[in-house]
């Protein structure tokens, strides 16, 4: 079970990433269920003293809106490589900052991005520890932490 402090840390990290990179205020939302339909999922894995993954999920339209904001241009009409790349970078920033708040000896993977509909991403041996929903002007998105059962996120010096 992820500790309460770690949930707060994750919320702070997500809020910091979105406000700093896009000027977009986001706030935690009570709804944690991901609706069906076309969406994008980006994730990074953390391995070493703590093993797990951090996933960022949103609708295709929202990913395009995020890309427009972060690149300071009109939002692309369709998902393209830049949109996927941008969503991977967001997951990378969330995972990287999460890593910075943990114990030493953890490695961060390169981001992976998937898009489509009716898919279910599973990280072998890992379970959903926390699924957090966020509201913003562009809609709702989700950040999920996965980890093998029973492991707790080791906390080091918090950055945020």
């Amino acid at each position: 079970m992820v500790t309460e402090v770690s949930v707060n840390m994750l919320e702070e990290i997500v809020q910091s990433v979105f406000i700093t990179m896009m000027g977009l205020e986001v706030s935690p939302s009570a709804t944690s269920t991901t609706p069906p339909g076309k969406r994008l999922t980006s994730f990074v894995q953390l391995t070493g003293e703590w093993n797990g993954a951090v996933m960022l999920e949103c609708s295709e339209q929202q990913a395009c809106q995020f890309a427009g904001r972060i690149l300071a241009m009109d939002a692309p009409e369709d998902v393209d490589d830049d949109v996927r790349d941008m969503l991977g970078e967001l997951a990378n920033m969330i995972g990287g900052n999460m890593k910075s708040g943990m114990a030493t000896g953890i490695r961060l993977s390169m981001p992976t991005v998937m898009d489509g509909s009716d898919y279910d991403l599973r990280v072998c041996g890992a379970k959903v520890k926390n699924k957090l929903a966020f509201d913003c002007a562009d809609g709702k998105f989700w950040v999920t932490v996965l980890s093998p059962g029973g492991e707790q996120i080791p906390e080091g010096k918090r950055r945020c």
Binding site: S16, V17, T20, M21, A67, I70, L71, A72, D81, D82, D85, M86, G88, E89, N92, M93, G95, G96, N97, K99, S100, T104, L108, S109, M110, G156, K157, R159
Partner: protein, 142 residues
């Protein structure tokens, strides 16, 4: 003389033309390169030509015959990471100013970067002001 140089640097904006390269930007993410390019322009360094590479190995190739004023590099990249790139540079006696822009921002990573010869580390997420604060001591703050 110094004022004139700085004025020229801040007034004209352009990308790499021909062989000249003032800043080498190394990141496997195209969107992140676009974001950093914009931050460099917003910091006022519009005249500086910015070359790009997708990883450390490609950056070493791009540096052949080049003497940029600064290298900005990501940490996690395929083929050759930012820290391995920096180590190779310093091993070859190349003393070009080098800064990381990375989400790897723990105290241990910063210490490793500095001990390996980096001049600064900008943590992602970052603002244009963060970039300006890091670049000004190296490129001038006019």
């Amino acid at each position: 003389m110094e004022f004139s140089t700085c004025f020229a640097v801040r007034r004209i904006g352009k990308k790499v033309e021909g062989d000249r390269m003032d800043i080498l930007l190394v990141d496997d993410s195209r969107t992140m390169r676009m974001i950093v390019q914009r931050a460099i322009r917003q910091a006022g360094y519009r005249a500086l030509t910015v070359g790009e590479a997708e990883n450390g190995a490609q950056a070493l190739e791009k540096l052949q015959g080049q003497k940029p004023m600064l290298i900005l590099s990501d940490w996690n990249m395929p083929e050759m990471s930012g820290i391995d790139f920096l180590r190779q540079l310093r091993a070859s006696e190349n003393k070009v100013p080098f800064g990381f822009i990375t989400s790897e921002s723990s105290a241990g990573i910063k210490e490793l970067a500095m001990n390996s010869g980096a001049d600064f580390l900008i943590s992602k997420p970052f603002t244009p002001e963060d970039v300006e604060r890091a670049l000004t001591p190296i490129l001038g703050g006019c």
